[in-house]
Point group: C3
Chain length 273, copies 3
């Protein structure tokens, strides 16, 4: 069922940034939001996106939003171009609303949406009175998100954006008996999340035996849960991101394999005699 | 006064996990909760439990819950066995409600409670529609916690759990003139929290002079506050956890002593001539 | 326009501490607050103030509060003297309310305010029943903040404080053609925030060409945004704190320069022939 492009806002605003938790930047954005929409409910997605890493921000935002109720506003700021000529946008897609710099951070959302609507943030009526060159999260994105959560319509914010900036996302290479992908993200547990989706995997290997190769190690077959192998053992699993993940039971696969974002992962079919 | 086993929920849900703050796992659980109980108030206890460390999670949960008003729901997920045969439970105790894997995480709560009631989480009506093998925090624990906070009764969730899994918690050894304990937890300041409770201490040493031995160092007597000794000096103190704690004024005792969880701590009476 | 000294509370409470996010100390304070004021809205400013660093706490609190709506209560705890003779205070200033140890943490707020009112926290009616020697954040500051947010007046808390403790804050030295300042704070991105305010800078250098010297490096002129220089290049910029900041585009100036709090920064006028 395609989602509405005009979901009534539910008052929830999520925040995803690379600002970290050390400084009060996030708290200040929340102060600005609550000054406009006193009853908004604020939820942190994460503020630990690696600094200026738009791809990681795009991936985690895309993996999270549909667990929120329709009509949620998602405020995402990973913004190395702040203060330059880069634009800022608001987007309606998937039954949710998004506010972000126009730098590709919403690529995953836009790719998944059957239809979407995007506008540039141009109307200063919805900004703070004074706009800094370095903190549009506070001066532009936070107040716009608050106004959207309070019912302001997209078209009030600015003119239509026909072609938001989109990132090139690395896709797996499929050959006759292998899928060659790469690590997209390393999570808190050191689990290696790849760009091999369950859809791509199933189309190739459903009902077949496979092995996974990474960093010179071979992992035989898929596991159904972490506890299915012995402690310290590497495993391959489809997890909550719905992507092939390489993990180490009760350990840290990233450190054990010295793997990182971009590390190659190969899935091969195994001939059974 | 024994607390009710059927406290009316107050709409507050706390979250304690080992998920860290880098990934949006916690934010996604909050999205699921707010989709069920839009007016719930969410409070993070901590998400920095050392990965898979059930004992640390048990200790910190137990130290925190009674500062919340009666009827709070506490959602705790430290879950190395996710996806295996381990069960999931909800417990009513101490006037609060708890949702957790049945792996001992609630041991401290159950030991303190005069009476408690526990059920297995069996009724999929209260879960998300699709259950992953790796993220029951999102798919099972979060929706169940939200339903409890909205008034669902324990018995609706599943059958009675007569014997929740309990951990063996290390207890101090008391001899004629010493108490031998160990470090249970090292906090953010490097303070070493031991398993020597004030009750055990008072029964042995009230009105007596003592010294504390740890890592080859001797600390003479108890201090009443950190500022009672000179900067850089080690001290022994009963603090907010109501347990004997070894600290270093304006410093980090864990690093100064190279102490960690499990390090031995001895309290000895001192003969005064 | 001077702000009211009796702003009606708006129910928002911010929290700024050096407690970190590893332990449940902050969560426990929130439990205490919600037990008194169930409808309070809680916003974390930061809990990553370097342990016992009152100056950093003072700086970040001062930089944040005016982005919150009038009538917000700000709870600030950086408290190396907890349990000693140091007093605790509540202050009304800038249209906001503050609760903190009387150790200089509110110096910046008091310096900025045209007028303020301060009282000592003396009335145990507004504390928890049992007061520990080590965690006044939980036992005194949290309940007092909750009562203030619920409408308790300052004078109910205790007697007037005529002279709150104030810190000496390092100020820049201005000579005929230079301003000599220092680094006050290093943020999450490694940006070096100095004690050279825009007001001091403009009075000296408006319309003139300058260069900035730090750690043996020279930076020519001010930039208007991070993206105005090439990646990896150092720049000097006035940012959201309204203070001169030394940054590295897409990098970490603190690590690149091996600079830290207290590092000297010199701004010199450049003669143009």
């Amino acid at each position: 069922m395609p989602k509405s492009l005009d979901p009534p806002p539910n008052g929830i605003i999520t925040l995803l940034t690379d600002f970290g938790m050390q400084d009060p930047f996030v708290g200040v954005m929340k102060g600005v939001i609550l000054g406009i929409g006193r009853d908004c409910t604020l939820v942190d997605l994460t503020h630990e996106i690696p600094p200026q890493n738009i791809v990681a921000g795009m991936f985690l935002l895309n993996a999270s939003v549909t667990y929120f109720p329709e009509g949620t506003v998602h405020l995402a700021v990973v913004d190395p171009g702040v203060g330059s000529e880069r634009k800022a946008i608001a987007v309606s897609a998937l039954g949710h609303l998004f506010v972000a710099p126009d730098n590709g951070l919403l690529t995953g959302i836009i790719h998944r949406a059957d239809e979407y609507r995007a506008v540039y943030l141009e109307n200063p009526h919805f900004f703070l009175n004074s706009i800094s060159q370095s903190f549009h999260g506070r001066d532009i994105f936070a107040p716009v998100a608050a106004h959207l959560a309070c019912g302001t319509s997209l078209h009030a914010l600015g003119s239509s954006c026909e072609a938001p900036v989109l990132l090139e996302v690395p896709t797996p290479t499929v050959t006759s008996d292998t899928i060659l992908g790469e690590v997209l993200y390393v999570d808190h547990f050191g689990n290696l999340i790849t760009n091999i989706s369950r859809t791509i995997y199933d189309a190739k290997f459903t009902g077949k035996q496979i092995r996974v190769e990474i960093c010179g190690q071979e992992i035989p077959g898929l596991s159904s849960c972490y506890a299915a192998v012995d402690p310290g053992t590497l495993l391959a699993i489809f997890t909550s991101f719905d992507r092939l993940e390489i993990a180490q039971r009760d350990g840290n696969a990233g450190r054990a394999l010295d793997a990182e974002i971009g590390t190659q992962v190969r899935v091969c079919s195994v001939v059974v005699y």
